[in-house]
Each structure stands twice: as structure tokens, then as C-alpha cells.
């Protein structure tokens, strides 16, 4: 059992490396790993393959890894803070808010550059979360445990409707956004990644800072205070990290759902673990999961691309149903 506990992080790290190798190898033009390596390492290799690897596939693979790690970690943090096993960025209006904000930004010429993608997404997810929180507060104590989830789905439905409305009003202007809105990494370029990667890394670092205290936070505010923590401040840090990671993920990959539910819940099946370990492993597993999903998205019905977001939903929904059945 002890060796099994130690082996899981190594296994997940190996899975991530393998997924990255697959991601770089497969595509519209498949090439052997040796050629990929040459493209990555050879500084003055000007061949077509080298350019594909360096300028298209590598940024995209890194973006998928960062977005996957962030979304999975955001799911763990939200589940711990809300003590609701169904919590994830998608169910609390964060993804829908970010998508709407980015779309609205597109209509304002001054905000159309990629520099604004991440701040807009962050603002939008904050607004989405704020709307859910305001609804829960307005309902008072009468709503019970189900209330945050209900408020979250209501806000999400409303924001998605607004987003659809705006994109329908000027279909041509938002043509390129349609694919992005289904949760896709297609078209991700190095400049966008360079802007957003620091945000994603900052969010992950903040999550790692909260991680060791996350288990104590789930004991309730009284016990956490007794152990010397400031629960209010810790929750604020956790939620700030959730917003930053979600915003960065949306900016890179669009509103991609279910990762924050699927990855942590699958990891919980491997055995008992505390929140800190769950958070660390979710980052690794989430990165591997989305890199793999994006690889599948590109090769499944090539030359046509499926959105990774459609795949994560297609995988996530049945997994969730199976988990619910197992608990019942």
C-alpha cells in the first residue's frame, strides 16, 4: 500500500510526459519522435516540420497542460471550500462569465488584442462567481445545501444564453470565436501563451501555497481557527487562485467544462488521500488529461478537428453518472 502511494505521482508524471510526446508527434502531419526532437532542439532547422513542432504544437501542448492543471486544481479547491463534491468552475458561473467577458471584449476595438484576453476572462469569471454568490446571499438561510448549485446553474444558463445571443447577432465577426466557445485550443499561438502562462503559473503557485492547509480548512471554521489558521483569509486565497487559474484556462482553451469534476473524482477512487495530496496529484493528472484530450481532438476524425471541450464533456458526463451510481 505504501509503495502504491509513492508510485502514483510517478505514474502520473510519466503519463504527462507520454501525453506530451503523443501530442507533439500526432496531427495532420504525423512525424516520428526523432523528428519532433530535432525540431525542438535544432536551433537553425528551418524545415516545415520543425516550424510545425516549435510554433504550433509546442505552444498548444504547453497551453493544454497549464489549462488542464489549473482547471483540475480549481475543482479541488472549490470542492474543499464549498464542501460540495459537485463544485467546479463550470457549475458556479466562472466559465460562462469568462466566455461572455471575452466575447464582449471582442466588440470593443481597444480590448481586442490578446493582451486583454486573460484580464477580461478573469473579470468575467469573477463577475459570474459574484452573481452566484449574490443570489445565494439574497436567498438567505432558507435555501439549504442545494442552493449554491441551483444558483450556479441558473447563472450559467443565463450567461450562456447571453453569449449565444451576442455571437448570433454578428455571426461573421465571431466566426473564429465559435470554435473557441466550444472549448478548443485550435489556433493558439505563441504570443497568447506568452501572455497567459505567467497568470496560469501564478494561480497554480497560489493554489500550492493554500494546499497544505486545505485539509484543516475542511474541518470547519472553528476547528481551523483553533489550529491557528485564519479561515476567511485562506478561503479568499483559494478563491483568488480559482479565479486566476480558470481565467487563464478560458483565455487559452475556451470555456472547457468537467475537467474540475472528472480528474479529482477519478483520483479519489485510487484510495484515501488528504486534500493537499489530492490537489498536487490533480495538477499532474489534469495536465496529462487535457493534453491527451487535445491530442485525441486533433486525430479522432482528422483532418477535421473536434474541440477538446466536447471530448471532456463526452468523457466527463458518463464518468460523473458512474460516480453517482457508485456512491448510491
Amino acid at each position: 500500500m505504501t509503495t502504491g502511494r509513492a508510485r502514483l505521482p510517478l505514474l502520473l508524471a510519466a503519463a504527462l510526459i507520454a501525453a506530451l510526446a503523443l501530442h507533439l508527434t500526432f496531427g495532420a502531419v504525423s512525424m516520428p519522435l526523432s523528428q519532433v526532437w530535432q525540431g525542438l532542439s535544432g536551433g537553425d532547422d528551418l524545415s516545415f516540420e520543425a516550424a510545425v513542432v516549435r510554433e504550433l504544437r509546442l505552444p498548444r501542448a504547453i497551453a493544454a497542460a497549464l489549462a488542464g492543471a489549473g482547471l483540475a486544481a480549481a475543482g479541488v479547491l472549490m470542492q474543499a471550500v464549498t464542501r460540495n463534491p459537485l463544485a467546479e468552475p463550470g457549475l458556479f458561473g466562472l466559465l460562462a462569465g469568462a466566455a461572455l467577458a471575452v466575447l464582449l471584449g471582442r466588440t470593443i476595438p481597444a480590448l481586442a488584442s490578446p493582451d486583454w484576453l486573460a484580464p477580461l476572462a478573469a473579470l468575467g469569471s469573477l463577475a459570474g462567481a459574484g452573481l452566484v454568490w449574490a443570489l445565494v446571499r439574497a436567498a438567505g438561510d432558507g435555501g439549504g445545501l442545494l442552493l449554491p448549485a441551483l444558483a450556479g446553474s441558473a447563472v450559467t444558463a443565463f450567461l450562456v444564453a447571453l453569449t449565444t445571443l451576442i455571437s448570433l447577432m454578428d455571426a461573421r465577426a465571431f466566426e473564429d470565436m465559435r470554435i473557441w466557445l466550444s472549448g478548443s485550443l485550435a489556433g493558439l499561438r505563441l504570443p497568447v501563451l506568452a501572455w497567459i502562462a505567467p497568470w496560469a503559473l501564478a494561480g497554480l503557485a497560489l493554489a500550492a501555497l493554500v494546499g497544505p492547509r486545505l485539509t484543516i480548512l475542511t474541518m470547519g471554521d472553528e476547528a481551523a481557527t483553533g489550529l491557528g489558521l485564519n479561515p476567511g483569509r485562506l478561503r479568499a486565497m483559494a478563491l483568488a487562485s480559482v479565479v486566476v487559474m480558470t481565467a487563464a484556462a478560458v483565455a487559452m482553451a475556451g470555456p472547457l467544462g468537467f475537467v474540475g469534476l472528472t480528474v479529482p473524482h477519478l483520483l479519489r477512487l485510487t484510495g484515501p488521500m488528504d486534500q493537499s495530496r489530492l490537489l498536487r496529484l490533480s495538477m499532474l493528472a489534469g495536465a496529462a488529461y487535457l493534453v491527451l484530450a487535445d491530442t485525441l481532438a486533433r486525430v479522432l476524425i482528422a483532418p477535421v478537428e473536434v474541440s477538446a471541450g466536447i471530448l471532456t464533456a463526452l468523457i466527463g458526463a458518463p464518468v460523473l453518472v458512474a460516480l453517482v451510481r457508485m456512491r448510491a
Partner: protein, 278 residues
């Protein structure tokens, strides 16, 4: 046995200094606009098991929570070892006093040892790694509560009584001069209640300041060194059980008509309820 020189290697409750003295001065507390504590002044001393007791809504839990920094005083204040609470940082306070709330939520996926190890949190920095002092404190806490053989079991799989002993081991592992527990025996079998009170009495005998909110009069009388009886946010009786467990105080505080006997073995008072006095 504890020969190290750092603070962590010496259980706080064995220092014998004034660090474990709780001083409450003219304390008033408002909750939801209602005054629940009225100008309370009392000292709770080390090396004694002090029980706060009284009818529902008397303010006993509020007093405990205010001392534990969970509720702010509206006037007056509390000091720990001569230092006002509001000048203690969170970690500093958690090294001086441990709290077991009435119903903590059990985190998922913990083994017994993992849960107890969380009690060492105030002694660990972000960078300070696990130390032999931490291991020693956890081993002592497990031995005192009799859960050593359960160390690798998942806490979720344990019975209610075993679980409560694990929670108590967690606050014991914190190794503070002051231990506070809010109704630690509620809903448990009588034998478990006795075990838990015996563990707390042993810590008090070793020098700790132990402050417990209890519901059960006879359990309190059997183990307490001092009983503080409260009603409507005020202290109506305060002293050793044989001084305060009288028919008159029980009538005044609990509206209870009761006979008080003496336990032939321990000499402690036992209350036999006969009816209510409305």
C-alpha cells in the same frame, strides 16, 4: 523524558509557568443583537479541570468560543498568560491553547495518524519540515487516548467513540498549556464519556488548564475540580463540586428538584433528579 530545549520538545502543559492562566475581565458579548454574556469576570487556572455548565442558552458555549477567539467581545476582554487575546497572532494563540469544537467536520481520506498529525500544524512553518518533536507529540497523544493500535485505520471507518478519541488526540498533540472542549461527550456511550473525562483529568493533573463545556451534571461532578454554573449569561455558582452541587443551586439554575447524595467511593456529589420546579 523530555530533555530537549526547544519549546516544541517540552509539552506546554508541563512548564508550570503562568502561561496557562486564562483571565476574563468584565466580558460582555452580543450575538445577533442580543446580549448573551453580562459583565463576566473570572480566572481559570492551570492544573485543574474546570467545567462550564448550565441550561441551554445560558452562555457557556459563548464564553468558551470567546476565549477561543471565535467570537469578539463587545466589551471587556480575555487574556492568556497575561497577554490580551487581541495581541496574539493566530499561530501564537494556537501554540498556547487548543480547541475541540462541538461538531468538527471529519476531512475525507485521513488515517488516524494523519488526523492527529494535523494538531501539530501551529508548530510547523511553511518551510519547517517534520521533526522528531512532532513524532513524539503524536505518539504521546495516541498513547494517552488509546488509539495507537488504530494508527493506520481510516478515521471514517471507526465508531463514534473511537472517532472522538482521535479528535481528542489531535488537540492533545497540539501540546498547549490550555485545552478547551465544547461538549466533547455528547451523543457518546457512557463508557466512552468516562474514558474521555479521565483523559482530560489526567492532562489537568499533569499541569494543563482544561476548560470543558458539559451538559451532564453527574459527569461534571465526578471529574471536575471546579464547576462554573451559568444562567442567562451570568455566573451563579462557582467552586468545587461538593460546594456548588446543592439542591438550592440546582433549583435556581436548572429549575430542577433534586436530591444530592454522596458517592460512597469517591466522596463526590451525585444528583438524583426528582422533578421540575417551575
Amino acid at each position: 523524558m523530555h530533555s530537549g530545549t526547544s519549546a516544541a520538545s517540552n509539552p506546554g502543559y508541563e512548564t508550570g509557568s503562568g502561561a496557562g492562566l486564562i483571565a476574563v475581565r468584565s466580558l460582555s458579548v452580543l450575538r445577533g443583537g442580543r446580549q448573551v454574556l453580562h459583565d463576566l469576570t473570572l480566572e481559570i487556572r492551570p492544573a485543574a479541570l474546570t467545567v462550564l455548565i448550565g441550561p441551554n442558552g445560558c452562555g457557556k458555549s459563548t464564553l468558551l468560543k470567546t476565549i477561543a477567539r471565535l467570537l469578539p467581545p463587545s466589551s471587556g476582554g480575555v487574556s492568556i498568560g497575561g497577554r490580551p487575546l487581541d495581541r496574539l497572532g493566530g499561530r501564537e494563540a494556537a501554540r498556547a491553547m487548543a480547541l475541540l469544537p462541538q461538531s468538527p467536520v471529519l476531512p475525507e481520506g485521513l488515517r488516524v495518524r494523519d488526523l492527529i498529525a494535523l494538531g501539530r500544524h501551529p508548530w510547523r512553518g511553511l518551510l519547517r519540515s517534520w521533526s522528531p518533536e512532532d513524532d513524539a507529540a503524536i505518539a504521546r497523544a495516541m498513547a494517552e487516548t488509546g488509539v495507537t493500535t488504530l494508527a493506520d485505520r481510516p478515521v471514517e471507518a471507526l465508531s463514534g467513540g473511537q472517532r472522538q478519541r482521535c479528535w481528542i488526540a489531535m488537540v492533545l498533540a497540539q501540546e498547549t498549556g490550555i485545552l478547551m472542549l465544547d461538549e466533547p461527550t455528547t451523543w457518546l456511550d457512557l463508557s466512552v464519556q468516562m474514558e474521555i473525562m479521565a483523559i482530560l483529568a489526567r492532562r489537568a493533573k499533569a499541569g494543563a488548564t482544561v476548560l470543558v463545556v458539559l451538559h451532564e451534571l453527574n459527569l461534571a461532578a465526578a471529574f471536575a475540580d471546579r464547576m462554573v454554573m451559568m444562567k442567562d449569561g451570568r455566573i451563579l455558582a462557582d467552586g468545587p463540586p461538593d460546594a456548588v452541587m446543592t439542591a438550592e443551586t440546582l433549583a435556581a439554575i436548572f429549575g430542577l428538584s433534586a436530591d444530592i447524595l454522596q458517592d460512597p467511593l469517591t466522596g463526590r456529589p451525585v444528583c438524583l433528579p426528582r422533578g421540575t420546579r417551575v
